[in-house]
């Protein structure tokens, strides 16, 4: 919304300029209001009245109330008028109690919220609630025609999960991926961001694009290239290792190395995202802080430790939360690279859930999805606790 109080004032001739700042949010609809005479009258009343900053909702109520008594009916024209005068603080107490005004206000509000609310309910909240209910039943693929013909099993699915050896393996693998992967990714992206922020001025864009490229590249293309690199006999990585006298393993077919390989791959893929966010965070730190620190005799490392890191806390929180959410649901790498093998050493929770859905165990798989959801929420809370801003 453009902040142009002057332009709005011309459409509402009665309003004094000093009332303008508080009316900024209302300008566009006022300008497009179907009956310009009415709002302008009210606004002038507001200017002569009190409290330019009075609560917007009560003000809206009063406006519609006044208008409905004048206009033929509280139709759509009146509704747009409501928005026209939010700063009108005239006797708001009386108006808010009027049932008619309250209803109209609610209708307007819901009218605006409706498109999103509907979409959200039908396509987001609905499925989420459905899957929660599903996780309490033994719904299977064979029940598709009669989804209500299922047995309610309560928390049975959840209990079963914790005696499912594959689930526990998958949980362990996912934990390793998150615990090692998130700090690794964050550290790498911070290092890259610091490098780009300090030295490289000329080619900064080139590097920024270069590091960001894996983020936007299709995982399928990436997997093909990585598989070539990781080939045991002819792959680039093992060729290089052979050059220094090391006989590299068969990375993706080795139980010990498969998961670490995927962690490195994940870090490489997601580094660009963290880098861009960190770069923005770094550039938002005022330069004079560094100047002051230099004058105080702080060295580079001290500046980093006591100035950059604290100032970056909110940025770190954001990157940590987003990366964690992504990594807990780690799926694509094993899906395209190893199919969870060898011997389930790269089977992740999300992949296991995906398999269970594929087998038609909808109830059981939904329960897994909810466990994953709870883990994401808990880890996010942990991050918020750890990185809570304590600058003040």
């Amino acid at each position: 919304m453009p902040r142009r109080p002057d332009a709005a004032d011309t459409s509402a001739p009665g309003s004094p300029p000093d009332a303008a700042p508080n009316r900024v949010p209302a300008d566009p609809s006022e300008a497009s209001g179907p009956t310009p005479a009415t709002p302008s009258g009210e606004v002038s009343g507001a200017a002569s009245g009190e409290a330019p900053g009075s609560a917007a909702d009560s003000a809206a109520g009063s406006a519609s109330d006044v208008r409905s008594s004048r206009a033929p009916g509280p139709g759509t024209a009146a509704d747009s008028g409501v928005v026209a005068g939010p700063a009108v603080g005239v006797r708001s107490g009386r108006a808010a109690n009027s049932p008619r005004g309250g209803l109209s206000r609610a209708l307007t509000g819901w009218g605006f919220a409706l498109p999103f609310t509907l979409l959200f309910l039908v396509f987001t909240a609905g499925p989420v609630v459905m899957s929660l209910l599903m996780s309490l039943t033994d719904l299977r693929g064979t029940d598709l025609l009669n989804p209500f013909n299922v047995n309610i099993v309560g928390i049975d699915n959840y209990v079963r999960l914790f005696s499912d050896a594959k689930f526990l393996t998958a949980a362990g693998n996912t934990a390793v991926f998150v615990v090692v992967g998130v700090p690794l990714t964050m550290a790498l992206s911070l290092v890259v961001a610091l490098g780009l922020n300090s030295g490289l001025v000329r080619f900064q864009t080139v590097f920024r694009v270069g590091y960001y490229l894996p983020v936007v590249t299709s995982i399928v293309a990436i997997s093909v290239v990585w598989r070539f690199v990781l080939q045991p006999d002819t792959g680039l990585l093992n060729e290089i290792l052979r050059f220094v006298g090391i006989d590299g393993p068969n990375w993706l077919n080795n139980q010990t190395f498969a998961l670490p390989t995927l962690i490195v791959m994940g870090a490489w893929r997601n580094l660009g995202f963290g880098m861009v966010i960190f770069l923005a965070g770094l550039q938002a730190i005022p330069k004079d802080l560094y100047e002051a620190a230099t004058i105080d005799g702080a060295r580079r490392f001290a500046q980093f430790r006591y100035l950059t890191v604290p100032m970056l806390r909110p940025t770190m929180l954001f990157v940590a939360v987003i990366t964690t959410i992504g990594y807990v649901q780690f799926f694509e790498e094993p899906f395209v690279m190893t199919q969870g093998g060898p011997l389930d050493s790269t089977l992740s929770l999300a992949f296991h859930t995906y398999n269970q859905f594929g087998f038609g165990n909808y109830g059981y798989a939904s329960a897994m999805g909810y466990v994953l959801f709870v883990v994401v929420v808990l880890l996010s809370i942990v991050w918020f606790r750890l990185l809570r801003s304590n600058v003040e």
Binding site: T137, R140, G141, T142, D143, L144, L145, N146, P147, F148, N149, V150, N151, I152, K166, R227, P232, N250, N253, Q255, Q339, G341, P342, L343, D344, N355, G358, F359, G360, N361
Partner: protein
Amino acid sequence: MTRRLLAAVAVAALALSACGRDSDGGGAQEGEAVAGGKASGDITVWAMGTEGEKLSVLADAFMKENPDASVKVTPVPWDGAHNKLSSAIAGQQTPDVTMLGTTWVGEFAKTGALDVVPPDFVKEADFFPGAWETGVVDGTAYSVPWYVETRLLYVNKSVAEKAGVTSPPKTWAELTQAAKDMQAKGGAKWGIYLQPGQMGAWQTVMPFVWQNGGDIYDGQGFTLDSPEAVGALEYYKSFYDAGLSTRDRLREGETEPKLLSGEIASFVSGPWHIGLLDELGGEGKYELWPMPTGSGDFTSFIGGSNLAVFKGAKNRDAAWKFVSYLMKPDVQVKWYQTVADLPSVQAAWDDETLAGDAQLKVFGDQLDKAKAPPSIPTWEQIAAGIDTELEKIAKGTESAADAAKAMQSQATSIGTGG
């Protein structure tokens, strides 16, 4: 507020009380008869992969014979096909006819969405018995095998010649010996490549169980830990223990060049590998061997795709007419010429196109002795469990007996979804 809450609880309770599974009305069923005469009206068909792209060729011919009928083929990619069918059934927006992977029949039949095959229209005796079984669930036929595939041994000719292996091994012992010779005398790095576990490995190993006289499921329960099955797993294990097969899984596209270069002397695969090898210039450089026998028959795995008509079909009779048209021997031969799918109808193999081809003849003979896994809704999940255990065997971390026990207990706890 309280009242609203009460109402919500009441609604929820109502919804819950409507739940609960009906007991299955068991017993074999027979399909209803199909009215005679020519087909008419719209017939909607879903088909996957190459079949989906090329089916219109046969559909056009069908429409020429039945001018009042109009066949509409929708190609569906294999990746999303299972989901698309599931959603179609859940939303009751099914086409008239669909193609199904053989291992999906059990699951979709159990939903109750598939029409029973009308016996007067599609005759069991026309098909390879192993293929027909893939469409039968609990004694009732829900789908018809459209095309089939079975697995043979692909062998590098020059390696085999160098090793002095002149005729296909008849028994397990001979196969082991052949693999040894091809490695030691033939110069191959690996005498044979058997998929070391992971997705789909059961298709390589279950034939060993059958060859040994064992089975997966006997109609009452799983028999994965029978002595025959354990013996088959031990045989599978012996190839890794003797260093005849690599323990590392080869990726798609790696096996063909390795066979032609002689790095691996042989592998087990289906008819599509003829095309893949010939594309790499391998024509004449390899030969096909039938499966050997253990203490049983020279059984192999049978796969392919089936055709099913939905109960909710808007044009059921015409749909079955189209399906039975596709099962005519001459149409099956034409289909082979179009997309190289092997006919499921035995009579089609008498045609010169197929009978005259030496490589195909091996497949034709093998199809007489080919079996499918049980058509139960939970098969894919059980198979995934088997694949995991096979991987442990191949990597040498588990004994054959322990793996068999694990397979059996997993399969039993998953059940048959009944």
